[in-house]
């Protein structure tokens, strides 16, 4: 059953990586959004899949009565969703401000830290 989802995870990864390799800020942002989903689904699938039954204990009982879905990856993914959303939000604002300051959305033109013209190394004392 998990094999199908393995392939799906691979497709999500491939799509997001293709977007990340782009030069344009917007496409990279989209790539990051998909990457988050791909990773979360990977964790979720690696914990094995169980249909329908959420890991919730019935009122009268101290243990689940039937086999439930694995709770651990769910807890991890829940954290990861929130974190990847924060990351996306931060990156979004960073990209927005970078565009405002530098006047470009092309990564090849964002060369403030590593300018194109190489300066002479400091040879004196």
């Amino acid at each position: 059953m998990e094999t199908l989802f393995s392939v799906l995870v691979g497709i999500l990864f491939a799509g997001s990586i293709y977007l990340l390799l782009s030069r344009k800020l917007v496409r990279i942002l989209l790539g990051i959004a998909i990457l988050g989903n791909a990773v979360n689904l990977l964790i979720f699938t690696a914990g094995r899949l169980t249909r329908d039954v959420p890991p919730i204990i019935p009122l009268q009982s101290y243990l689940p009565v039937e086999a439930t879905a694995n709770p651990l990856p769910q807890a991890l993914v829940l954290t990861a969703i929130v974190i990847s959303f924060s990351f996306l939000a931060f990156f979004l604002v960073l990209g927005y401000r970078a565009y405002q300051e530098l006047g470009t959305d092309d990564l090849l033109d964002m060369r403030v830290a590593e300018p194109k013209e190489h300066s002479e190394p400091p040879l004196g004392y």
């Binding site: 691979g10 990586i17 959004a33 959420p54 204990i57 769910q74 974190i83 924060s86 090849l108």
Partner: protein
């Protein structure tokens, strides 16, 4: 710790560092008079080391140890024998006088406190080097002397020459220190102990070890760089850029002698082999001749002294290298004499410079009547340097000639020694006679005698040199012979006489030296021109070589950085994902552990449908022509993933995913529609092909990785633990929530913090803006 006895030595070691901390404050309130108060600390250390002298003269040694890093056999341990005690006495004793001298020399200087602080730091490091027992302790102190001497040499850091000299000294001596560390650790492993006191007994083990040559080269490299042996001699004269108190201290008794100390310390372990007795005397001898010849060339009195220091160090290395007991006794006496006379002469030159405004030997003359005390100190010290009776330098020369004469290959070493000493004689005469006698020359300042602080040091050391000569028998018994015994590893105690008791070859050699020296002195001016011409013809020296090596390294580093860091983000991303693809596939290819192909398994139609929607969503984003479309389409795969969560027993995840996905799309749409972005993807078709292959490869790799993981047996231990205890001890029925807020509560705190910090960062990014808001061109190009 007790205030008396062996353990009190730890206080003596700590003292200079305390003084270093106090110096800036005292110098602020007391000005130059702070030197008087601060000099008490090295003086007390001197007394502490003096208390060991009677015991050591009887052949005792002292040890004390504090645990430092016991798991790695690193102790803070000290070992006091004849060698370390004499060195410690010289360092603390001369250190006391230098402290006073520095007070006088830098009187009124705004950074006097800082200077004294550096000086004390150096003193503390140097004392540590000579008393350290553990080799790691020794190494740390050794590098500390390199660093503090960097600070001292570069004290006048506003001048370029000063900065260059400081860097040069640090690179040469610090680099040698690294070699030394390797050598010491290797020796420690081979000898079975990291304590020098124990290592000294395993000389035979080390000499027969297959690593002997490696240990020898590494240790000698450390010693040669520190003690400015040819071809590393260039940093020492350059270090004369430092204020004179530094030169007087570092280049008479301390820093540069550390290398000699190391060789002497390691002599019982590494000495007395063919390698030792060839390499050391040859390099020492060359250094002796090179130092004196280059010294003749100089007209700056301080540089003359610097080059004779190089020469003296060469002589000491040569003598230590002969492994002959008498020659080593000669080295010990010479080292003692040299510390006294060279310290004194540096201070004399500094005083002349300070009071007359110049130290160029062509611009000073006839100062004796104006500066009688300094002049006396100069004459006495120069006599010792020239090796004339009745000073201790004379005894040193007699004994060392006696030693080289009888040593293996003695003829050659004696030749080196006579030639070097003759030139040293001439240079000593120059330093003493030129400034103080002959016709008076008009100096930039009207010269007069220096203050008490300035003259106290030089005259004290000069008189000590005279006294040591007069009482050479007891000085020899108490101080010098124990040191020789420590270097040899076997007891040695021959009575020393000021005047030779019989007509030995040494006496004839001495006479020859003096005669040759007088001739050289007579033709000094002509020789200076000849040497200068010769050097100009050669036109290259290690000093220039240092700059060239440094330039090559810097240029190489720049080229490498510019090649690796192209500045193109696309290249970086491609490199990253290429590495990821390799990491995914190479292990599978190498081990052949591919995931087994299994059937997809049974699925309901709607499950197929949802998976298909996710794929279509991704494809739609990839091929979208306009950014708004792409952003909206982004929601498709997000909601598909949410549905998957919902179907497979994760309602919490599904709801969160719905929320987040909706928010993401809304925010993206809000922000991105404000930007005037070109919607097209500006990749070339070849670039696109590469990127598609790369991303497909990565995706396939991750797919296969995940399949391999799933085909492994599942370990439910953790999940079962959480399921079992969720209600019973954490009293929650929703197991996922219990994990988040209870079992892994700290993770959730971390998560909340991340969200909070992100929020703050977003706020800062939006609110904080440069003053002129990107309107002017200069602002944009910044």
């Amino acid at each position: 710790m007790p205030l008396f006895g062996v353990e009190a030595t730890f206080w003596a070691l700590l003292g200079p560092f305390v003084a270093a901390a106090l110096s800036p404050f005292l110098a602020k309130t007391l000005k130059h008079n702070a030197a008087w108060l601060l000099a008490v600390i090295p003086a007390l250390a001197f007394l502490q080391f003096l208390s060991f002298v009677p015991g050591i003269a009887e052949g005792q040694t002292f040890k004390a140890s504090l645990e430092w890093v016991p798991t790695f056999n690193v102790n803070f341990s000290i070992y006091l024998d004849g060698l370390s005690v004499l060195f410690a006495l010289l360092i603390s004793g001369i250190g006391t006088l230098i402290t006073l001298y520095a007070g006088g020399y830098l009187k009124g200087h705004e950074n006097l406190g800082q200077f004294l602080s550096y000086l004390f730091l150096f003193m503390g490091a140097m004392l540590g080097v000579v008393v350290a027992d553990n080799v790691i302790t020794l190494f740390i102190y050794w590098e500390l002397t390199s660093i503090t001497s960097f600070l001292l040499i570069g004290f006048d850091h506003l001048r370029r020459a000063s900065r260059r000299s400081a860097v040069q000294a640090l690179v040469v001596t610090g680099g040698g220190g690294l070699a030394l560390m390797a050598g010491l650790i290797l020796a420690g492993y081979q000898g079975g102990s990291f304590e020098l006191s124990e290592l000294l007994n395993s000389g035979d083990v080390l000499r027969e070890s297959p690593y002997y040559t490696a240990i020898f080269i590494l240790v000698v490299l450390g010693a040669f760089t520190k003690s400015a042996q040819f071809p590393f001699h260039f940093w020492l004269p350059n270090a004369m850029e430092a204020p004179t108190p530094v030169s007087a201290y570092l280049h008479s008794a301390t820093m540069v002698k550390a290398g000699v100390y190391l060789l002497m310390r390691m002599h019982p372990v590494l000495g007395d082999t063919e390698l030792w007795m060839t390499v050391l005397p040859i390099f020492g001898g060359i250094t002796l001749l090179v130092g004196t010849i280059l010294g003749i060339r100089q007209t700056d009195l301080k540089l003359v002294l610097a080059y004779t220091t190089v020469a003296s160090l060469g002589l000491l290395v040569m003598l230590t290298g002969t492994s002959d007991p008498v020659a080593i006794q000669g080295a010990v006496i010479y080292l003692f004499a040299h510390s006294l006379f060279k310290g004194s002469l540096f201070m004399v030159v500094g005083t002349v410079d300070h009071e007359s405004g110049t130290r160029d030997l062509n611009r000073v003359g006839g100062l004796f009547s104006l500066m009688p005390i300094t002049g006396t100190a100069a004459v006495l010290s120069a006599l010792s340097m020239a090796g004339l009776p009745p000073l201790v330098g004379f005894v040193a020369k007699e004994v060392l000639y006696d030693g080289t004469w009888h040593a293996v290959n003695g003829g050659l070493w004696t030749g080196f020694a006579v030639l070097g000493n003759a030139m040293m004689f001439a240079l000593a005469a120059t330093v003493a006679i030129k400034p103080f006698f002959g016709a008076k020359v008009k100096t930039p300042k009207v010269a007069h005698e220096g203050t008490v602080l300035l003259v106290a040091g030089s005259i004290t050391l000069a008189v000590l040199g005279l006294a040591a000569g007069a009482f050479i028998a007891s000085v020899g018994h108490q101080l010098l012979s124990p040191m020789t015994s420590a270097i040899l590893g076997t007891p040695f105690d021959e009575e020393l006489h000021l005047f030779p008791t019989y007509l030995s070859p040494a006496l004839y050699l001495s006479l020859a030296t003096v005669a040759l020296g007088i001739i050289i002195f007579m033709y000094m001016d002509k020789l200076r021109v000849i040497v200068a011409d010769a050097l100009r013809t050669i036109g290259w020296g290690p000093d220039k070589g240092f700059d060239q090596v440094l330039e090559v390294i810097i240029r190489f580093a720049t080229t490498l950085t510019q090649t690796v860091q192209t500045g193109s983000m696309v290249t970086y991303m491609r490199a990253t994902f290429t590495v990821i693809a390799l990491v995914l596939f190479v292990p599978m290819i190498l081990t052949g552990n591919w995931p087994k192909l299994q059937g997809i398994g049974s699925f309901y139609a709607y499950e197929w449908f949802i998976a298909a929607i996710a794929v279509i969503g991704v494809y739609a984003v990839l091929t979208a022509r306009y950014r708004v479309t792409a952003i909206v389409l982004l929601g498709i795969q997000g909601f598909a993933v949410a549905l998957i969560y919902l179907l497979f027993g994760a309602p919490d995840l599904a709801f969160t995913q719905f929320m987040v996905e909706t928010l993401s799309v809304v925010i993206l749409a809000l922000v991105m529609t404000r930007l005037n972005l070109k919607p097209t993807d500006a990749r070339s078709s070849r670039g696109k092909a590469f990127d598609i292959s790369l991303s497909v490869l990565c995706g396939a790799g991750i797919s296969m990785l995940l399949m391999s993981i799933i085909q492994l047996p599942f370990d439910p231990t953790l999940s079962e633990f959480f399921t079992q205890y969720s209600r019973t001890i954490a009293h929650g029925r929703n197991i996922v929530n219990v994990i988040l807020v209870d079992f892994r509560g700290f993770d959730t705190i971390g998560e909340i913090s991340v969200v909070m910090v992100t929020g703050l960062a977003v706020l800062a990014l939006i609110r904080v803006r440069p003053k002129s808001n990107g309107n002017s061109n200069s602002e944009k190009n910044r």
